[in-house]
């Protein structure tokens, strides 16, 4: 598994952990066992699990297993790394919104966070597009 895929998948696992934790607090609040203010975390819960977990895992595995351009060459790697960086920055802004329970102003980080995550997926798509094609299987005897 290439380095970038490892970074994507590890980050996905971390956001799964945080997303489940936030969901757990909200579910406990729904059951009357925790402070109702945890409901403020609902949008962050959704973004962490849909984007941080599911989308990041998809990008990590796609970078790993999509057909390569040539032998070990995965093509426009700069775009894939750029996508990773933008996505991480976006998730960090979303992470900041957890503090909105105590500092309501940080909720304003939510939309910029989502925009950066969208940009990250866009960059990644520029990388991945040429790799979405039939795999070229070379015969062992081919020149």
């Amino acid at each position: 598994m290439p380095t970038l895929s490892r970074y994507f998948v590890r980050s996905a696992l971390i956001y799964l952990g945080i997303g489940f934790t936030l969901g757990g607090f909200i579910l406990a609040a729904k059951g009357g066992g925790a402070d109702a203010r945890f409901w403020l975390w609902l949008p962050t819960h959704i973004v962490f699990l849909l984007n941080g977990w599911l989308i990041q895992l998809s990008m990590g595995v796609a970078y790993w297993i999509l057909p390569r351009i040539h032998l070990s060459d995965r093509g426009r790697q700069g775009w894939a790394w750029g996508g990773f960086v933008a996505f991480q920055l976006g998730l960090l802004l979303t992470l900041g919104t957890i503090l909105s329970l105590w500092v309501p102003e940080v909720q304003s980080l939510f939309a910029p966070g989502l925009l950066l995550q969208t940009l990250g997926v866009f960059f990644f798509a520029i990388h991945a597009l040429p790799r979405i094609r039939p795999a070229l299987v070379r015969a062992a005897s081919a020149p």
Binding site: M1, P2, T3, R6, V9, R10, L13, I14, L16, G17, F20, T21, G23, G24, F25, L27, A28, K30, G31, G32, G33, A34, L49, L50, W53, L54, L57
Partner: protein
């Protein structure tokens, strides 16, 4: 395919069918007002799909296909992986039982059920990370210890 993966994929397929059916009933009711009880299926049906189907399926496939740790310890301690399967499904089933029930008749029992469901699913999530983390590696480990 390891036994655990077969169980997770089977369970995931059942959740997919149940989640799609529950979602269809919820939205059919929103359009045709069939029965007020059906409006309690949201957001339970969403979590049947995203936790029961997607997350569980992903877990089973990672467990099966990601690079192994070592030849003599391919996937880590299987008891941990089975604990993920047990806790995730117990937590989700508890939610499926208590969440719609609570939206119709809130009481202490379904409230406690939701708190317990939260705890079970969160612990399952942490164990899932523990099981999958060592499998995120450059290449399959070879040899023994």
């Amino acid at each position: 395919m390891p036994t655990l993966t077969r169980w997770t994929i089977r369970a995931a397929m059942i959740y997919l069918l149940v989640g799609l059916a529950a979602g269809a009933l919820y939205w059919a009711n929103a359009q045709w007002s069939l029965s007020p009880i059906l409006s309690s299926l949201n957001p339970t049906y969403i979590h049947i799909l995203v936790v029961g189907w997607l997350t569980q399926l992903i877990f089973g496939v990672i467990y099966w296909m990601f690079p192994i740790i070592r030849k003599d310890n391919m996937r880590g301690d299987p008891r941990l992986a089975w604990a993920v399967f047990g806790l995730l499904n117990a937590g989700l089933l508890l939610r499926i039982g208590c969440e719609p029930w609570r939206s119709v008749t809130p009481n202490d029992l379904n409230g406690m059920g939701l708190v317990l469901s939260a705890l079970l699913q969160v612990v399952a999530g942490y164990l899932l990370i523990l099981v999958c983390w060592p499998r995120v590696r450059a290449r399959a480990g070879t040899g023994g210890a």
